[in-house]
Structures are given as structure tokens and as C-alpha cells.
């Protein structure tokens, strides 16, 4: 795993959960957080100086709380809104991570986020190991953020 990219991935994700979700991330996960069942999965594909996919998995009841926080509501929003929220979170984390991969001048194209059922949480890009992966503790659950690269910056330029 690329530790430098993993650090950038953690920073981008932590900032997004703090500023939009009003959730405070922790790096040390307790067993409850670590083995919590997955609530939802979203991914964003990107093309540019390098190509790949960013995947966000939320587990342990984080998704409804995050969506309600983002919208400023007390009750859990609808499933559609929760899907929209996790897609937007994936989109924002991806957009903030990409300069770490290729520099701030480079231009990337991001596809619209795709949400997936929780059962698709494993092996989002078949046959590829993630270039970087981080786990973030959020309330009673966690977020898993995985970056897959199908081509590196050097290969595209």
C-alpha cells in the first residue's frame, strides 16, 4: 500500500466528514466499529493523468446519521437521500484526493457517483488490490475508503 497516498486519503476523508457531516473521525477503531455491518457503498471513477476508482463504504449505522447531519434534520432521511449523500461524500473525497496523485495543475474528469448495495462491499474492482485504503472511526461505526488505480500518473503522460 502507498502510505503517502493513504495519508492524503485520510486527510481528504476526515475533512469531508467533519465539515459536511459534523462527525469527528478517529484513527483507533474499537471492535464494535471494526466489525460493524456495511450500510452502503458508493464509488466514483476518474480519468485524467491517471485513472481509477474511489470507493466509500459506511458501516455501523453511520449513513443515516451522516445524511441527517448533512441536511440538518433530526430524523433519518429517505433511502434515496442516503444514497445521494454517500455518493456526494465519495465525489468530494475523490475530488480532494486527486491533486495528491498528480499535482494541483492537472485536470481530471470524474464520473457521476454510483451507489451499490451493501452486499457489493467486497472486491469493488475485481482482481485489483487497492493502491491505498484507510479506515476511519465515526460514532458507533466506521468509513472504509479505498483507492484503486488502473493506470498510474507515469503511464498516462
Amino acid at each position: 500500500m502507498n502510505e503517502k497516498i493513504a495519508k492524503a486519503l485520510y486527510r481528504a476523508a476526515a475533512l469531508t466528514f467533519e465539515e459536511l457531516g459534523f462527525m469527528f473521525p478517529s484513527q483507533d477503531l474499537d471492535p464494535l466499529q471494526k466489525f460493524a455491518p456495511v450500510d452502503g457503498v458508493a464509488s466514483v471513477d476518474f480519468q485524467g493523468p491517471c485513472e481509477g476508482r474511489l470507493v466509500v463504504r459506511l458501516a455501523g449505522g453511520v449513513l443515516p446519521v451522516l445524511t441527517a447531519n448533512m441536511m440538518g434534520e433530526l430524523e433519518a432521511p429517505s433511502e434515496n437521500m442516503q444514497n445521494d449523500a454517500i455518493g456526494e461524500i465519495a465525489n468530494i473525497i475523490c475530488g480532494n484526493l486527486l491533486p495528491s496523485l498528480a499535482g494541483v495543475k492537472q485536470v481530471f474528469h470524474l464520473d457521476p457517483p454510483t451507489t451499490r448495495p451493501a452486499r457489493d462491499a467486497v472486491a469493488p474492482v475485481t482482481g485489483l488490490a487497492p493502491e491505498a485504503e484507510v479506515q476511519i472511526g465515526l460514532e458507533e461505526g466506521r468509513a472504509d475508503i479505498l483507492l484503486f488505480l488502473t493506470s498510474s500518473p507515469g503511464q498516462q503522460q
Binding site: 475533512l15 469531508t16 467533519e18 465539515e19 459536511l20 459534523f22 445524511t67 447531519n69 448533512m70 441536511m71 440538518g72 432521511p77 434515496n80 437521500m81 445521494d84 449523500a85 455518493g87 456526494e88 465525489n91 468530494i92 475523490c94 475530488g95 480532494n96 486527486l98 491533486p99 494541483v104 495543475k105 492537472q106 485536470v107 481530471f108 470524474l110 457521476p112
Partner: protein, 142 residues
């Protein structure tokens, strides 16, 4: 004078966040319109008077950059105040967008950041800032 505002973003959650921030901004709001892509936004602008628009870049059908170009090309909407609210991080693309005479707010943003940009774009005096000295220590209750 109450401001009519158009929010253009393909994410309903993001539109809800922006609307919430608008209501907390202290602006006198008139109509708040929503559009999920650039084509919908052009229809709203064709049928209604809008004073301020907050626009995402990455959207289906007609993206934010092309939408801004269409807005600037139309004499009736050429002077519309625009804030781009986007996850875009490429300096090259941000500079290109800013050359079109728009403000830029990067996602993720705090409510305070978006509020400051809205107040600057509309020229509305921030009364809370005047009375408290600074808004940096304050926060919104979302």
C-alpha cells in the same frame, strides 16, 4: 430587497445544504429555485427573475462550465451573480472558471465559508460580523 436564488446541483442533499445555509445567512430571500442540471437551470432562468445562482460544475446533461457560458452569452442573464460550489481541485480549471466572473467555493465547505461567499457576491452587509467583531468563533446549528 428579497433575493431570488437558483441552486444548481445534481445532488439533492447538496441542494438542501445550500438552502439551509441561505436561510441561516441573514439574507432576505424571495424565491429559492432548484435545478438538477444545466438544462433545468436554463429553463428556470428563462421563466423567472434570479439574482444569485450557486452552481456545481460536474453535472449530467449540461455541466456547470457550459451553463455559465450560456448564462454569460444571454444579455438578460449576463450580469447574474454566480458562485461555483464544486469539488474541483485543479488550479487550472478553477482559474478558467474564475475568468468567467464567478466566485468559487470548494467542497467540502463550512456553513460559514459559504455564507461569507454569498454575502460577498450579493454585497449584503454582514450585521452579525459588525456587532460581534468576527464570525470566526461562531457557528451554525445544522
Amino acid at each position: 430587497m428579497a433575493l431570488n436564488v437558483l441552486i444548481v446541483d445534481d445532488s439533492a442533499v447538496m441542494r438542501a445544504i445550500v438552502i439551509k445555509t441561505l436561510h441561516l445567512s441573514g439574507l432576505a430571500l424571495g424565491q429559492v429555485y432548484e435545478a438538477k442540471d444545466g438544462e433545468e437551470a436554463l429553463r428556470v432562468l428563462d421563466e423567472n427573475w434570479v439574482d444569485l445562482s450557486l452552481i456545481d460544475i460536474n453535472m449530467p446533461v449540461l455541466n456547470g462550465v457550459d451553463l455559465i457560458d450560456r448564462i454569460r452569452q444571454n444579455p438578460e442573464t449576463a450580469d447574474l451573480s454566480i458562485i461555483v460550489v464544486s469539488t474541483e481541485s485543479s488550479e487550472t480549471r478553477i482559474e478558467n472558471v474564475q475568468r468567467k466572473g464567478v466566485a468559487f467555493v470548494h467542497k467540502p465547505f463550512t456553513p460559514e465559508t459559504l455564507r461569507e461567499a454569498i454575502l460577498r457576491a450579493t454585497g449584503v452587509i454582514d450585521e452579525r460580523k459588525d456587532s460581534e467583531g468576527s464570525i470566526s468563533g461562531g457557528s451554525f446549528d445544522f
